[in-house]
Symmetry: C2
Amino acid sequence: MNYKNFPMVPRVVFGRGSFNQLNEIITPKRLNTKAPFIFLVDDVFKGKAWLTSRIPLSYDDKLLYISSEEEPKTSQVDAIVEGIILSIKERPSGIIGVGGGTIMDLAKAVSIMLTNEGTASDYQGWDLVKNPAIYHVAVPTISGTGAEVSRTTVLTGPEKKLGINSDYTPFNQVILDPELTKDIPKNQWFYTGMDCYIHCIESLNGTYLNTFSQSYGEKALDLCKEVFVNGKLTAEESQDKLMMASWHGGMSIAYSQVGVAHAMSYGLSYLLGTKHGIGNCIVFNYLEEFYPEGVKLFKDMMKRHNIDLPKGICAHLDDEHYDTMIKVALSLEPLWENAIGKDWKKTITYDRLKALYQKM
Amino acid sequence: MNYKNFPMVPRVVFGRGSFNQLNEIITPKRLNTKAPFIFLVDDVFKGKAWLTSRIPLSYDDKLLYISSEEEPKTSQVDAIVEGIILSIKERPSGIIGVGGGTIMDLAKAVSIMLTNEGTASDYQGWDLVKNPAIYHVAVPTISGTGAEVSRTTVLTGPEKKLGINSDYTPFNQVILDPELTKDIPKNQWFYTGMDCYIHCIESLNGTYLNTFSQSYGEKALDLCKEVFVNGKLTAEESQDKLMMASWHGGMSIAYSQVGVAHAMSYGLSYLLGTKHGIGNCIVFNYLEEFYPEGVKLFKDMMKRHNIDLPKGICAHLDDEHYDTMIKVALSLEPLWENAIGKDWKKTITYDRLKALYQKM
């Protein structure tokens, strides 16, 4: 196959309040009364009745609150899957993730691991999944990661931080209800929105780009600028547009890849547990040499929104730490090839990455 | 369901030369050796070995050349379906449409009518189809209609020109190979491209619009401008971008509708058989009162590309003819409601439409 036969999310609802349609949407997908739906819900919503009271639990359905404080791990996926298998008699009717990138990635991975043997870490890589996942649904509550539409679920495993990239990864259904993003703390809104912005810069400046991905990336970038630069939108318009930016930004990766910021941010995350959104920002802030215009506008947006990034997060690291981070970053070959070209190894050296990390 | 749960095309390939992957893509979908694939191919490609030699026929597969000189009809769908049923023993493995909007709409309708009883005209309307269609694939060879991604197939029936709008209508697979559009005659390129442009203007100026549809419509419009206004693209870039404009333009209709030009163009087409692309242009040219900026830019693009539209096509019509056209146009209530608002009947009168048609 010269060109990827890209799997798109086959069903999508968009609209303020569309979360109320969840029951109507999933009911026809219930296999039988003993095959429950499992809801993975970000635990920031614990006790938030405006959201939780609208989760339609029936029969043996289960709601699992999950912390998104840490990046999702393969061990976490394995534990959730084991818990599900031990507590119910039949294979679930579906997995519904209600949350941000972490929860959505867990929902994807759990739905895959319910039909595939072994541990989630066995499937980190490209096209290793053998059996179709069970029905899985995303209800994003924060915008920017593109996890709702991508064919990957990025997990930290025992040896690497790497996605399960497969045709079975994408959701069967996405519910885009921008109203659900109304209570996000400002910093998190910014960091996650910048995940989308950085996707776009990396995708649009990459060597893999084709017109399909370019058209999505350009639109996502335009929407990011409307939200983060122009500042003339109402709160609702801003929520709506950032949700669409995330969607198009995710689609722009179809025939493209992310780049330097993601590769280096994965290193930070693997070693220090740095969350993806803020990690991307910390790295991107020092990447003028790779993305001069993109970094300039990024700094401008930080100023507009009074964002102070943490500084000196690598100050206490020793050589062994740097080795670990740089090994993870350099292992993401497609990202470097997209960013720099086929001969990336000539210019992307251990010392160059170390010098960059030391600034952060 | 307050918001439509929109069915997206679940698989898409984009790339110059991706048509060569057709065999690899459809082979796993073959039900058995007696269940053939039926290829509906625009008869302009008859004898064009550069395209036809790449159509992968195996076992009892059939290639039917179909003229796109006329707009697709319900009777034509019924005849193709009957021919298929009479000539083969098992239900086909799939229908593959290779052509423009006419061929793609026929492919959709035939795939629906192979699993649904009665005549195609029984299903003209919204959500009347009962059973899933058989597997169907689009290979567009001209860009602009959005038929490759829409949930409708527009047919002229005994009583009306109206789409079969259903969740079973969208293709299961689309192959976007911009190279296939290289030999289009200039006028047809322009008229079909303008179908996309006019979609966008109608969608973006409509009352149904939401942020989802707006984001796709804006991107399609930007791409149309790159292709038809800026004039700085290579032939290949122009083909690539117009194919993506068509795709995004089709998606923009998800939560929107077309408007005045499409409603009136359907009237022309029903009575005179005017093809959709040129019919839209003929109508749109006189719609300044509804879309002032859109029509201004349209006239500018006509000038840039030396397009002369036919004039006086309604000159010979009598009152009965006008009655027929206006009845068809006014019957498309969602289009008028989108264009004008819920109270459209107050301002869109028989006489107003007649006066407009008389100019054409």
